[in-house]
Subunit: 207 residues, 4 copies
DNA sequence: GATGAATGAGTTTTCATTCAT
DNA sequence: GATGAATGAAAACTCATTCAT
């Protein structure tokens, strides 16, 4: 940590930057990228538009920065969760729980994030996809290795390829989270996230 | 059917409409909604722009019509599949297979469709969501009833609420299809779609 | 001539185009390229700005079109004058007179034209220069050949290279025309344009 | 000279000012007035932009100052050359030579200068023209007087008004210099600048 | 006195929509 | 009824200028 070495000016700049990104996040997730103007973003962040352009060279840059920053945060949290835990089941439990936490604490960015990874991204050129895709793939590979290890150690039945199992657990957790996102009241995210896991493990675990 | 009662004029109009929607679909899925102009759509459909506006009152209307029409098509195909089949397992097999067929035969519209159902839709105002949400919900309820029936008839273990199981099978099939969509070569959609089902059923079915 | 074959629509378009170019010419020569906005040009031409962009794909295109069109007109007039005339002296007389006529009838474009050929053109990229430069060079070569021929036929003394003489007569006529342009009252363009020519010929012609 | 009386502070300021003007000159002649920003100028001169504004009240002021300063330098050099020399021919020779020297040593400012005196100056409001126009006029009058004197002293034939002859020699030297500027290789400025003069004098001088 | 971050007016350009022919 | 020319509102982006530190 060298946060101490940041001058007052630098700390201020960082704060401003965060305020701009926060305003952009709000607007993008409220109204979408194309329906949010740079002027609106600047106004919401309480800066002049010129100041916004001092920090981000154009609208696309602002968007990419925003997405990548959030994506990094998510990825780090998820990967950390996957590393912690005594055995395979514990690691997967940690994963599902961490994902739930991240998701619920970042609702506004989530739709934006999935628009980028799943939706018809408005942004055809984007080298952005690449970066995020890599992170997703890395996560899936890590999960796949956990299943692989579980299968080798005879804790799991090999009901499918380990990569397919990774895909399965990833999509199951997403589905439950979206379900919760759309109707938190009627579709609560399982208080015991293991429910999600169990759907898989019931068929998987060797008793 | 009262197709017989349509005059030549009316049949022509219907054809024109389809051509416009087809052109719009192509462009929207190639370049996204905001990067496709009404002029481009009209040109690709080989109509004057004024004619386009005779059929759709504005760009949003064109978009909504397009999405809803496709969504209806999908929904009908899926619901039909869910109705056919002797027992619960067969119905679910039909569902997974039908979904695969629909998906692969309509690749261009799929991203657009998921942008609408999952992504940060660019179009917040749209009451569009509502219509589609209802269809999705109906499908999920139908699947849930199939699980419910299976559980009641002691064919399935009750490893989770039936709605949750419906959510699970829906998201699993989506996940495998997206995986295939992104890299058809390295992640082929299972030749035997039952693989997807098995991931669930292995833990579910009572032997 | 196939002007007859132009439809009413086409003729209208041509007229509109001319009106836009005329408005642009006025503004550019009044206030310069960078101080004239597309909105101003559109307004002065009595069109909406969108219409202006239907005719010219951007501001630079409008500018280049304007300059090249005028430059072509000048070049054609000058070259024609150089071709007409019995002998060398007559050709040169025609040249000086034609230049005077063109200049005086197109005062507003002249400064613009010289800005492009002489001044620090604002337009660094411009492949525009190239086109015009070629025309100037062609004119100079033609004049040079006239001097060459005059020298060979012993009508002129060889007081300098023929290209230098061409340069000389070109610059002399420009100088007198600019002098007139800046103060038409006190520096009238010689009623007898031969005065300009004489400055050269007095030393040139073999008596 | 009261340079001695300048304090260190004042001398420093003068140096800074020169550095700013030099940077502005470079940029204006490289990219034109409107394509050079105050920020760029400040950066190239290695000052803060605020400092630039301490010295020049705005961009136009900077530009005017620059042009006038250069113009003064040229004017002084030219006038000095015109004063030196035994007789009329020698004075004119000095003029042509001095002009060549000034021109070649200040290539970067020359286009800028001619843009101002000849081109469609981007800057219509500018009372700048006035100042420079006066200097040009003074030079022309001085040259005219030299011709006048030559004519009176029967050294020159009166082939035209003396002012017209001044105009002629001025434009001839410009033309040759521009020709050189555009293609130094193929159109070298006459090693013997008298060639330029001769074009005029051949017809002028009484043998 | 020097600095350079902040400002926002002003510019180019696009495109959904209208309406006269 | 079809057409597509004309419109102008709205968006991205720049940069001269100011002023608090």
């Amino acid at each position: 940590m060298q946060r101490k070495t940041l001058s007052r000016r630098e700390r201020e700049k960082l704060t401003q930057r965060q305020e701009m990104l926060a305003a952009a996040l709000e607007l993008f997730s409220e109204k979408g990228y194309h329906n949010s103007s740079m002027q609106e973003i600047a106004t919401r962040a309480e800066f002049a538009i010129g100041t916004l352009y001092k920090f981000f060279k154009n609208k696309e840059d602002l968007y990419k920065t925003l997405i990548l920053e959030q994506s990094d945060k998510f990825h780090t949290a998820i990967m950390t969760a996957l590393e912690e835990g005594e055995d395979e089941v514990e690691k997967l439990q940690n994963y599902v729980r961490a994902k739930g936490t991240v998701f619920m604490n970042n609702v506004s960015v989530i739709r934006l994030y999935f628009a980028e990874t799943r939706g018809a991204s408005f942004n055809i050129k984007a080298g952005l996809d690449g970066e995020i895709r890599k992170q997703c793939e890395q996560t899936l590979q890590t999960i796949a290795r956990i299943f692989e290890s579980g299968i080798k150690r005879r804790r799991f039945k090999k009901i499918a390829e380990s990569y397919q199992l990774a895909l399965a657990i990833d999509s199951l957790s997403n589905a439950f989270l979206f379900s919760w996102l759309e109707a938190p009241e009627t579709h609560p995210y399982p208080e015991d996230p293991d429910i999600i896991l169990n759907i898989l493990l019931k068929g998987l675990v060797i008793n």
